[in-house]
Symmetry: C2
Subunit: 406 residues, 2 copies
């Protein structure tokens, strides 16, 4: 590759669905992923949902020959699930954990416990500096009434801001991951508009794989088809995005997705399809502006739309903060009332009636439990309000900057 | 200033100690700070512990004439307390909340609730891009047995990494804030070594203020002198640090601190002294390397020392995770045992003795309470372990990079 005028880079991206005890045939699939990666010899592998460090270690051992460099990003309770394998030395890494990521009490969804993040690895190939980002945003559980939309929008905004601020010395920016957004969703338009990143699927000269580049498809035996009813062809939520910053051009020569079962096997790699891109990177005479695409007038509309959704989330969070606070105050009042009653009894008032010890204790414990839980909720929603408010402010600042541009 | 070969920049940094209901004579002091800032006309004001948004809004109104640009960073439950006032337009901002910041159950310390962070504002003056960082690290409550040292080291490391990754397109980097570290502490050596930042106090041509540049001094009427017993002159924990990245040089012409009471007043601005620096920024022919100072051989020793302390914290966190997990399991077992006893009674076993309803209920609630608390602690310490482990990994990577350098 060295010395050639064009650099050809093959990238593999997959949400591995490797949750210990929960994901079906996990170990078999992780082995299969490892075998395929070893055979195919990509340059860069971006994985999500590798939630067991043991799976990462196994992959690392298996891939040591062809991908001697790797990094696993740790965060949250379960872990970010993000890791990168590379043929080229990883020079530096950085992890940014999103400020909002669902609710700890939504145990059935569990996103909060993963500490969803964006990981950055810096790689230099033939003198070209690549900032490679891998991420996984909050899942969408119900598209009709998507209560997590403000959180996902905050994540998309923070992702865009993180990329903009950390990629200023890079020649090429690559982003791979499960964004949990359809291609036309406001979050992805915001991300693409604010960073100038281009979608490998839309730009590819040659495409091969599931129709419309879908990565959650009914042909995948692990997919819950009832979830895909409104989208009979499937949905596209896994992406490879890229842009050149300095005097380089990047072109997507080919984009592929897997189509259900892995080649020659009876099972797929995961419940998501893998995305594989072949990029051509070439040095060109004229430096390309860093703000490519961001000057777009339509961008102001996208930021306004996203800001409106964040505002909706802010008001919901404020309501929840208020009601949890009110609940805590009521529980505290009840406890105080009980304390007064107990003191009254001790002082000898109302001795003509037997004191109902059992119901008294039950009520006191109930009030105490409600107080602790409501106070914790109040604290959590206060943090949520702070982040949503801060994001609204930042978006407003961005809008002002867009409007002031000549 | 425009067109001159040398740019002169006056910076004001202060931990304002403006905690609603807790800080003494808060409103009076905030007014005093505002008046002084208006009179003195600095170029850049970096404030910490402005924990009430109302105080920020009041300052903003008062300072609108001389500092038309400002930003308040929101995070955590109470807020980050960080804000910036500037004579020059703020082009962009970014907030990074530290992954570790004390414990939520240490209510008497309260750092966890502040969501300690580093805020970045980008400013352009006479064509020179300034990346200005403001931060406040976790407090040190007991120097002899500093249980928060690993957390503060993780913060110092994340601060250094954040500055390195986000300042690559900057010409000049400025950092101001309360770092809660003495000048010779490992955290500040790590921060300075890994970023190449220089200490305005050490570099100043002319200094005026408290001896040794101390910012917590016995002469300040709000200082708890018993805390300063081992340091009769006071301690220096508030800093202005800087470096030039591209073809610029920065020199600190003058550094000043306040010395207790504000000029002409009977009270100081805060329990901390303010730090005021006058910097000279000049363009020079030869670009200065971005890694200035980081190639230092001694840096590897500093990273090793910091990594050892992080390792100590990691093992403590692992022990706490284990004991909280064990406590949760024991509480669960007790609950199961009680459920079995209750079922036994319902099935008619042991009817010859009266069932002790009250003690049974008390015990059940106690076990439930312990279960919930221990499980929450287990979750919290698991996250702590993940972050400390991740930081150890990153430091190891940094050490390898330092050793591989020619």
């Amino acid at each position: 590759m060295e010395g050639e005028p064009t650099l050809r880079l093959r990238i593999f991206d997959l949400n591995c669905w490797a949750i210990r005890y929960l994901s079906k045939r996990r170990q078999e699939r992780v082995r299969l992923i490892g075998d395929t990666l070893r055979q195919e010899g990509f340059d860069l592998v971006l994985l999500q949902e590798v939630w067991s460090e043991q799976d990462y270690s196994d992959l690392k051992v298996k891939l040591a020959g062809c991908y001697p460099f790797s990094h696993y990003f740790r965060s949250g309770v379960i872990g970010s699930g993000l890791c990168v394998f590379s043929r080229f030395p990883i020079l530096d890494t950085l992890l940014y954990q999103y400020s909002l990521n669902g609710y700890p009490y939504m145990l059935q969804h569990g996103d909060w416990f993963c500490g969803k993040s964006v990981g950055l690895v810096i790689i230099k190939i033939s003198g070209i500096t690549f900032n490679v980002y891998v991420t996984h945003l909050h899942a969408e559980y119900c598209r009709e009434k998507d209560t997590y939309l403000p959180h996902r929008l905050v994540q998309a905004w923070e992702l865009a801001q993180f990329i903009r601020h950390t990629s200023k010395a890079a020649d090429v920016v690559l982003l791979g991951g499960d964004l949990n957004m359809h291609p036309e969703d406001v979050g992805i338009r915001l991300l693409r508009g604010w960073t100038g990143l281009r979608d490998a699927f839309a730009e590819a000269t040659h495409f091969e794989g599931c129709k419309n580049g879908c990565t959650l498809v009914p042909d995948n035996c692990f997919t819950d088809n009832s979830e895909l009813l409104p989208f009979p062809l499937g949905i596209r939520i896994d992406y490879i995005l890229y842009k050149a910053i300095s005097s380089f051009t990047v072109k997507c020569e080919e984009l592929k997705t897997t189509t259900g079962p892995a080649p020659g096997m009876d099972i797929p790699f995961s419940d998501h399809e893998a995305v594989m891109a072949t990029l051509h990177i070439q040095r060109q005479g004229q430096p390309v502006g860093a703000t490519l695409g961001t000057a777009d007038l339509a961008l102001a509309d996208v930021v306004t739309e996203a800001r409106t959704e964040v505002g909706v989330g802010l008001r919901a969070a404020q309501r929840q903060r208020y009601s949890s606070g009110r609940m805590a105050v009521l529980a505290l009042l009840l406890l105080l009332l009980q304390a007064a009653a107990a003191l009254g009894t001790l002082a000898g008032l109302g001795t003509e009636q037997p004191f109902p010890k059992l119901s008294f204790c039950l009520l006191a414990f109930l009030a105490l439990g409600v107080l602790v839980l409501a106070a914790a909720l109040h604290v959590f929603h206060t943090m949520e309000v702070k982040v949503l408010h801060g994001t609204e402010d930042q978006m407003w600042m961005a809008l002002r900057a867009l409007q002031e541009r000549p």
